[in-house]
Structure formats: C-alpha cells, structure tokens
C-alpha cells in the first residue's frame, strides 16, 4: 500500500478561513473602531510581532536573549536619526531601520555566539546596555533625556491626525502579518525543519548534517532586523524616544518573555494566545498598580509549574490541534497516533 504525506488538516483549513476574515475585519478598523481602541490594537500587533520573533530566537534556535531591547531601541533611534539628521521620510526610515538592525546584528552575533546558555543571555543584556549608554551620548538626539519627532516629520507622514493614526495602525497590523507570515514560511521550509530539530536536540541535529552556527546566525540576524523595524514602528506611535524608553528591558524583553512562556514556547500559536492573555490582564488589572505586576508574576509562576509548555501546550495535548499547518502526516495504512 502506498503512503502519502499531507500537511494541512481540517483545523488548519478552518483556521486559515477564520484568519483571513479576521484580517479583513481588522484592516477595516479605522472605519469601525475609536482612536483609543486602534492604539491599543496597534500595540497588541507590535507585541505579538516581538513575541513571535523572540519565540523563533529562544523557542526554536535556543538563543535565549534577554537583550532584544537592543534592537527595539536601535530601530527607534534609527528612525529618529534618519528623519531628523538625514531628512529621510518616516515611512522610508522604517525599512531602513530594519536593515540597520540586521547589519549591526552581524558583528554582535559573531561576538556573543561564543557564549553558551546563561552566559549568552547575560551577554545579550550587556550588549543592550552598551547600546543604551551609547545612545545617551548622541547629543544630536537629545543625549540622556531623549528627543521628540519634529512636527514637520510627523505631518509629512499623512494629512491630519485621523489619517496618521490609521497609518500607524495599518503599519502595525502589516508588520504583525509580515512577521507571523515569515515565521510560518520559515518553519514550513527546510530551514524550519532544521530549527525544530535544533529546538529538540542539538547534538543529534549536528550529527545529521545541520550547520548549527549558520542556522542560528540566520535566525539571529533576521529577528534583529525585524525587531529593529518594530522598534521604529513603536516610536512612530509614541512620537518620543529616550535611552531609557528605547532600551527598556522590562517593556521590550520581560513582557515579551512572559507572553511567549505563558502562551507556549516553541509553537507558532503560543505567542498569539500569550499576547491575548497578557493584554487581557493588563487592560483589566493595570489600574491596580503594583498588584498588576504581582498578578503577572503569579500567572507566570503558575503556568510554568502547571503547564511548562504553556497554555497552547495544554490545548494541543488535549485536542491535538494545530492552527498553522507545519507538521507532516503520513497517510496510508492505519497509523498509530492519528487524530
């Protein structure tokens, strides 16, 4: 009897349809949502993108970086530098920020890839601090106290405040679609197979012909570039940057790790679920001040103890569901483990 290999399932086909409908609805948000809701949704998309990238990095490539704020801040500063000092239109400064992020990541990768495990994590944090201290030395961009995006740069983006808000929203939605689409394409490809193997067992991966350094390098550079692009978008929304805001380990790394860990590290669906949970908690509890942060900590601890593979891990173990068709199924004779 012959066998065939399939990748999509009924769940993934339904998810694709729901995803497209959801995306159409979200693209039309400027016509149905208020300004505050759009800002919140824009922020959700940017955090979703950061979380998806950190998941690729830590969840698949095993690069547990606690210094991704280096690239968020770098992207933000690239935006301000290019628009204020060079006169590049803000729209063009966004992809340029991404390219700058990727280029800067090359020597950084060569340097910190010499470190392993916890040392790597600390190394990435140190690099981010170096970036922060360097940014504080750039007096043309306000030094330690930072600077605002000049009114003419902001006005040149779009006519009127509503149009600007809509543009910022679409850019955030666009980058989220780009990042998730790219992560999906990577994980489905030959490189993704190598990455997933790396996630599970580095020794075996190496012995089966996977060039580990090269694979990690590609992922690190790609995530750095995209993270810098997201950084530019974050500060287009904020209109103001300072070294402490741009290179904040809390805002751009700790919350992102929280999202990925509670959602389910090493799955594409995990960060999506995690982002929703994070914002649900934030929107309901943020007014309580310190209690909100305590609640986040408690949730993180409970999830790590009770469901180490995250909330999506729980769902997957129960239902075997997969929204993104990445895995392979062999069809033919009766297979054990079929669902």
């Amino acid at each position: 009897m012959t066998h065939a290999v399939t990748r999509s399932s009924r769940t993934s086909r339904i998810a694709a349809v729901v995803g497209v409908v959801l995306l159409l609805g979200l693209s039309a948000a400027p016509w149905w949502a208020g300004r505050a809701d759009m800002r919140l949704m824009g922020e959700i998309f940017l955090y979703l993108s950061l979380a998806t990238l950190w998941n690729l990095l830590a969840g698949y490539a095993g690069l547990v970086s606690v210094g991704q704020q280096a690239y968020v801040g770098l992207g933000g500063y690239a935006l301000f530098g290019l628009t204020i000092l060079v006169g590049v239109p803000a729209i063009w400064a966004i992809p340029l920020a991404g390219i700058i992020g990727a280029l800067v990541a090359v020597p950084v990768a060569v340097l910190i890839f010499r470190l392993r495990g916890a040392y790597f994590a600390i190394g990435t944090w140190v690099i981010a601090e170096v970036f922060r201290l360097t940014a504080a030395q750039v007096s043309a961009l306000g030094g330690g106290s930072g600077t605002s995006l000049p009114a003419d740069v902001v006005r040149a983006m779009a006519e009127g405040r509503d149009a600007r808000e809509a543009l910022a929203y679409w850019l955030a939605l666009g980058v989220a679609v780009l990042v998730i689409g790219l992560a999906f394409a990577i994980l489905r490809s030959r490189l993704g197979l190598a990455l997933t193997a790396l996630r599970d067992n580095e020794l075996a991966a190496r012995s089966l012909g996977i060039d580990i350094w090269r694979t990690k390098f590609i992922v690190y550079i790609a995530t750095a570039g995209l993270t810098a692009m997201i950084g530019a978008l974050i500060f287009i929304q904020k209109l103001r940057i300072s070294p402490d805001a741009g290179f904040s380990v809390n805002d751009w790394t700790a919350f992102v790790i929280f999202i990925v860990v509670i959602g389910g590290i090493g799955t594409l669906e995990g960060p999506i679920l995690g982002t929703l949970v994070f914002f649900a908690l934030r929107e309901t509890l943020a007014d309580l001040g310190t209690i909100y942060l305590i609640a986040l900590g408690v949730v993180a601890i409970v999830v790590m103890l009770r469901a180490p593979s995250g909330l999506w891990g729980l769902i997957r173990a129960r239902a075997g569901a997969e929204l993104f068709p990445i895995s392979h199924r062999v069809r033919g004779e009766t297979q054990q483990g079929d669902r």
Binding site: R190, L203, A204, A205, S207, I212, Q336, G337
Partner: protein, 242 residues
C-alpha cells in the same frame, strides 16, 4: 575494494585519561567492522573522533579519499557518514516521520517529494511505518533505537556507525534488529558497530577490532579474535599468566 575510512595515529586525552592512543586502523568500502572492548576503553570516543564531535590532539582521519580531520561534524555527515547514538537522541517534539525528514533534507540534501519518498522507504525498511505519526518522545526503547537507525539511513550514508544499538533489547527484539542491519549491509553501506551483545555482532560483521585504554589491541577475523587470549583476559578476567 577501496578504502573508505582510515585513522592515522589518532590521539586524544582528557588530562591523564587517554581515550585514543595513537589509534590506527582502516575500513574497506562495503566492509562491516565490529568494535568491542571494556567499558571506558574509548569506543564511543573513537566514534566522536570519527564523526567530528571530538577533535584529535594529533593524527589524521581520512574518509572517502579526503582528509576530514578538521571538517565539522555536520559536513562529515553530508559527506556520507552517520552515527546512531548509544543513548537515543530523538527530536522528541517531532513525529517519527519528521525525525527522518530532518535527516533526508539536511544530511542527504534531498528536497520535497524525493526526501519524503526516501523517508517512507526507510520507515518501511526499518519497520517503523506504523509509528510514522507518533511523537518521538513517546516511543519505547526498541522504537527509539529503530528510529536512530532509520534517521541515520535517511542521510544516505556510505558509512554507518552504530553505537550499542542492540543494548537493552530482548532476544527477539535484538534478532529482528540484526536482520534489519543485515538488510542495510546488503545495500552496500559500510558499517562500524560498537556492541556488547557479541552474538548480535558476530551475526553481521566480517572483521573485529578490540579497543582497550584507547589502543587497538587486536584486529582480525571475528571468531579468531573472540578465541584470542587478549579478549579472554578482558572479558573473562583471566590473568596474563594463565
């Protein structure tokens, strides 16, 4: 037949512990070589040196006409040598099929339908087809060992290095595994097999080397080696003057 693998005075030590002491031996293409020796003799270290997860401090390693001494492990695999691990190292979160697909796409450099066809063929050959969609972390020991073998075969190796693949199996499991390995040999793959289960080894190999303290202390026809004095000293604990 040409020479496929040659070790030329390969040495490696961890401080005072010598795992390879000027080791020299070679393997002809198509040959099946068994490796025995007491625990800690340096058998697995020899595999690590051959496959590139451990670098020698001196000596050269030749594979398929090339000096591979400085070649990284991943490239040696792509050049045609694969190993199975003594303690199975599955990709736990991937299915059995995906485990083999990693080997076919990365190790053999195959793509798309061709890689899938290779995997399906190997899964059938190693009797793992019924488990194709099972996550590797939920496999039994025998299945894990079979997966090690299946994955290694999917890299389309010229040289297969098996590290105690029969250890810990029941007699009937061991028998069916031996049959599978004989089938692999029929396809022209050269084999180096480290094994404590001597009867399994004897059913497959046509030459045997004995390693102790990182040195090759005997090399020759399996039955003659097993009957030799050195081997009986090591395995039966006989004194040298008996």
């Amino acid at each position: 037949m040409g020479e496929l693998l040659r070790l030329d005075a390969v040495s490696r030590a961890y401080g005072a512990v010598v795992v390879a002491d000027a080791q020299s031996w070679s393997l002809a293409a198509g040959e099946a070589l068994g490796v025995i020796g007491p625990n800690g003799a340096g058998k697995t270290s020899m595999f690590n040196l051959v496959t590139g997860t451990l670098s020698p401090q001196s000596g050269r390693i030749w594979f398929d006409g090339r000096d591979v001494t400085d070649m990284p492990a991943a490239r040696r695999c792509r050049a045609g040598m694969t190993r199975s691990f003594q303690v199975p190292q599955p990709f736990g979160g991937m299915t059995v099929f995906e485990n083999t697909l990693v080997a076919a796409t990365q190790g053999a450099g195959e793509r798309g339908a061709k890689a899938e066809a290779t995997c399906l063929e190997v899964l059938a050959r190693t009797r793992m087809m019924p488990k194709a969609n099972v996550l590797a972390r939920s496999l039994t020991l025998l299945e894990r060992k079979r997966l090690e073998l299946a994955r290694a075969l999917c890299t389309r190796p010229k040289l297969l290095l098996l590290d105690e693949i029969a250890g810990g199996l029941t007699d009937s499991e061991c028998g069916s595994l031996v049959q599978t390995i004989r089938d692999v040999r029929e396809t022209g793959v050269s084999i180096v097999w480290i094994e404590h289960v001597v009867h399994a080894l004897m059913a497959v190999v046509d030459r045997l080397i004995v390693i102790d303290f990182g040195r090759v202390i005997a090399d020759g026809e399996p039955h003659a080696i097993m009957a030799s004095r050195e081997v009986r000293e090591i395995y039966l604990g006989l004194d040298a003057d008996v």
